[in-house]
C-alpha cells in the first residue's frame, strides 16, 4: 500500500498557478515562471483570469449575455499569456472565474492542487492598482503555498 502511494507521489506533476489580468506585470510573471520552469520542475500551468461580477452593473443583460461578455473579457486578458506558454511547449489550461481576485486565486489554487503561485506584485484590477500589491498581499494571507511576486 505504502509503496503504491509513493509511486503516485512520484508521477505527480508539479502545478503552478498564474493569475493573469493582461497587465505587463502578469506578463512578466509568466516570463519569470518560464525562466524558472526547469528548476522548479513545473509540469503543468494554470492560467487564471478573474473577472468582476458584471451582474449588478448590467441589469439589462441576460445571464447568458453576461456569461458571454465575461468569457470574452477573460479570453482577451489571457490571450498573450496563452500564446507565450503555448510557444514554450508547456502543458497548460486556462480558467476564467468571476469574483474577488484574491479569494478566487486562493480557491482555484486549492482546487487544482497547485504547488505554487507566480503573480505580479501589483495590478489585477483598476482599483487594486492604486493600493500597492493589495491582491498579492491578500492572496498571501489566504494561501500557504509559496508565492513568487514579480515586478
Amino acid at each position: 500500500m505504502r509503496r503504491s502511494d509513493d509511486e503516485i507521489e512520484e508521477v505527480d506533476v508539479r502545478k503552478v498557478l498564474i493569475p493573469v489580468d493582461g497587465s505587463p506585470q502578469s506578463a512578466r510573471a509568466v516570463e519569470t515562471m518560464l525562466d524558472f520552469v526547469q528548476y522548479e520542475q513545473i509540469g503543468q500551468v494554470c492560467l487564471l483570469n478573474v473577472q468582476p461580477d458584471l451582474r449588478p452593473g448590467y441589469r439589462s443583460l441576460s445571464a447568458l449575455e453576461i456569461d458571454k461578455l465575461t468569457q470574452q473579457q477573460g479570453e482577451r486578458a489571457l490571450y498573450d499569456a496563452v500564446r507565450r506558454v503555448e510557444a514554450a511547449g508547456l502543458p497548460f489550461d486556462t480558467r476564467i472565474e468571476t469574483g474577488a481576485p484574491a479569494p478566487t486565486i486562493a480557491r482555484v489554487a486549492e482546487e487544482i492542487g497547485a504547488d505554487q503561485i507566480f503573480m505580479g506584485s501589483q495590478g489585477h484590477g483598476a482599483i487594486a492598482a492604486f493600493v500597492l500589491g493589495s491582491v498579492a498581499v491578500k492572496t498571501l494571507s489566504l494561501t500557504t503555498l509559496p508565492v513568487t511576486l514579480v515586478r
Partner: protein
C-alpha cells in the same frame, strides 16, 4: 547557474525557504545559493557604545549573524549545494535588496512570518519592503 539569494534569520520560515531552494537542485540544473544574515544593531549600538567599543560590538553582532547562519549552512552542505554566506549590517530590507543587486542574484527566496490569520505580507514587514525595493522576483515561502 541560477544565483539565488536566501536571507536567513534563523526562523522556521527562513528554513522552509531554504528547503524550497534545496529542492530546486533535484531538477539537475545548477544552482548557487547566497545566504545572507542582516544584523541591524544601529539602535542598540547607541546605548551600547557607552559600555563597549565599536570593534567589540561589531565582533559581537557578526558572531550573532554567523550563529543565525550556521544551521542553514549545514543544510546546504549536506545537500551539496554550492554556496557563499555573508553577514551584513544595515536596515534589513534595503540591505537584502542591495546585496542581491551587487552580487548579480537572479531571484530572492525568503520566508514570511507564519502569522496565520493576519497577512504574511503586511505593510512594513521586511518581505513587503524587499518586494518594493528590488526588481528581482521574490518567492515568499510561508
Amino acid at each position: 547557474m541560477l544565483n539565488i539569494l536566501v536571507p536567513v534569520d534563523g526562523s522556521e520560515n527562513a528554513r522552509r525557504a531554504l528547503e524550497h531552494v534545496i529542492g530546486l537542485k533535484e531538477s539537475g540544473q545548477p544552482i548557487f545559493v547566497r545566504l545572507l544574515n542582516v544584523q541591524s544593531p544601529l539602535q542598540s549600538k547607541v546605548s551600547l557604545n557607552a559600555i563597549a567599543s565599536q570593534a567589540t560590538l561589531d565582533a559581537y553582532f557578526r558572531e550573532m549573524g554567523e550563529e543565525a547562519l550556521a544551521a542553514s549552512l549545514a543544510l546546504l552542505h549536506r545537500a551539496q549545494v554550492p554556496c557563499e554566506h555573508a553577514v551584513e549590517f544595515g536596515p534589513p530590507a534595503k540591505t537584502i535588496a542591495d546585496y542581491a543587486q551587487k552580487h548579480g542574484c537572479h531571484r530572492i527566496v525568503m520566508g514570511t512570518r507564519g502569522m496565520g490569520v493576519v497577512s504574511n505580507l503586511v505593510v512594513g514587514s521586511i518581505a513587503y519592503q524587499v518586494v518594493h525595493l528590488t526588481q528581482l522576483p521574490v518567492t515568499l515561502v510561508q
